[in-house]
């Protein structure tokens, strides 16, 4: 699987601590040192010819489709509208956009908790359910 945060990319996200006016007073494309410099050609016309997004009826989160999220430790739930797998905590189904009533977060640490969980799997605090 594509590692979005390789070691090198993590290091690159920390700003260089030794820069001066030649950097901070240059506002253009090359002066920002931001992710813009990493944007590549996306050839949009070729890519709009098919549907790269999960559609209703597809399971957004199934890894074998290489489209959704990887199964997280916090689990997921099923969208009652389209049946797609929705990551725990998301207020909306990421496939059809339906509002998810089951989204919940730990009142202590703020991380998402699985549907029906009485205790946060991260910090162990009661979820109040």
């Amino acid at each position: 699987m594509f590692n979005f945060f390789s070691d090198s990319s993590r290091k690159r996200r920390y700003p260089n601590p030794n820069r001066g006016s030649s950097h901070y007073q240059k506002g253009g494309f090359f002066g920002m040192g931001s992710s813009f410099s990493r944007s590549g050609s996306s050839s949009p016309r070729r890519q709009y010819g098919y549907q790269p997004y999960p559609r209703q009826g597809q399971h957004y989160g199934m890894p074998q489709q290489n489209q959704g999220y990887a199964a997280s430790q916090s689990g997921s739930c099923i969208c009652p509208n389209c049946g797609a797998s929705v990551p725990a905590g998301s207020k909306f189904c990421l496939s059809c956009g339906a509002k998810m009533a089951s989204a919940a977060f730990c009142p202590n640490c703020g991380k998402p908790v699985p549907q029906g969980a009485k205790f946060c799997p991260e910090c162990g605090s009661p979820t109040g359910r």
Binding site: Q25, S34, Q47, Q67, A70, L94
Partner: protein
Amino acid sequence: MIFFRRAGCYTVESRLGGGRYGVCYLARDPEGRRVVLKKFRPKIWRENSGGNHHEAVILSGLDHPAIPEFLGVLNLPRGYFFILEYKQGTTLKDLLFHRHTEFTESMILRVGTQLLDILSYIHSRSVVHGDISISNIVDDGRQTALLDFGLARYTGGDLSVDLDHSCFGNVLLYLLYSRYRGKKFGAWYEELDLSAGKTLFLKRLMGLEAPFCDDAEVKEAFLTFFSD
């Protein structure tokens, strides 16, 4: 340039900006309220297939007036969109490099304090923004807001809060340099005429000296050295 005027029930008004992920548009919902439509680049969406859900989940769990609310998802044949609350204001990048705003001490104090309040909140919810920059901060003259949680993650994984502290220090340096008219000859700690306290504070943020332990320590030091 906008290639479409409608996306679902939303009317697209203008292009707000773009990046590696895709493009953000200003749009209006059927009730006339302003929203942001964040349209993802198909290539990026596919390449980051294991992490696309992070922004949706993290924004779902945040509730702060200076953070855009996650309002929904549009999955259309013409593209995949997140619908986000629109935050009024101008990015610090535009203020610095297009309007050539000179940030006074009091302006830096206000923006810095409001940013630290936002950071304290998201860190208390176990969230690291991971991409704090002058492009992702908007200010309307009264309130600062933090945008773009596309690279945000929960703590305990790849990111820690010191990344946000470093990026916060980097933003402060942009603001401090808005009034700099001296020669270009070296690093910020050589060029800027800062007090010893401010220099140490920024060096600690940027990782050149012992880092801060937590947000409370950062805020206390910031108020101490930037209030005078």
